[in-house]
Symmetry: C2
Subunit: 70 residues, 2 copies
C-alpha cells in the first residue's frame, strides 16, 4: 500500500470516528472540502503543513495519520 493510501484511510477513519463530515474537517483544518476528499481517496500527495492542520483539527498527533492499521 502506498503511503498516501495509508494516510487517506487514516484520515477517513479518524474523521468518521469523530462524527465529522468532510466539510466540517475541511473548515476546521482550513482547506477545501474537495482537498479532504482527494486526500482520503489518495488522489493527491498532501504536504506536511496540511497533515499538521488536519491532525490539529482531529486533535491527534500527526504521526497517527501515518499509522499502518488503516
Amino acid at each position: 500500500m502506498k503511503l498516501r493510501e495509508r494516510v487517506g484511510l487514516n484520515v477517513r477513519n479518524l474523521r468518521s470516528s469523530r462524527g465529522l463530515s468532510q466539510e466540517q474537517l475541511a473548515l476546521a483544518a482550513d482547506v477545501d472540502r474537495s482537498y479532504i476528499s482527494e486526500i482520503e481517496l489518495a488522489k493527491n500527495s498532501a504536504s506536511i503543513d496540511v497533515l499538521e492542520r488536519i491532525a490539529l483539527a482531529l486533535e491527534i498527533d500527526p504521526q497517527e495519520l501515518l499509522n499502518k492499521r488503516g
Copy 2:
C-alpha cells in the same frame, strides 16, 4: 515545534546516523540535493510521496520521520 521542523530534524539525524551525505540521500530518494537541504532546514513542506521515497531510501517506516524526538 512545527511539524516540518520535526521532520527536518528527523531526516537530518537519520541520514547522518547512516553516514549518508545530502547528495547520497537525494540520489537514493530521487529528489534534488537542494530539496533535501530545504526539508532538513524546514524551509519547505514536503509531500507524502517525497516522505515515502526518503523513508524508503533510509530503510525506515515513514512514520519514523514524524517521531517527536528530534
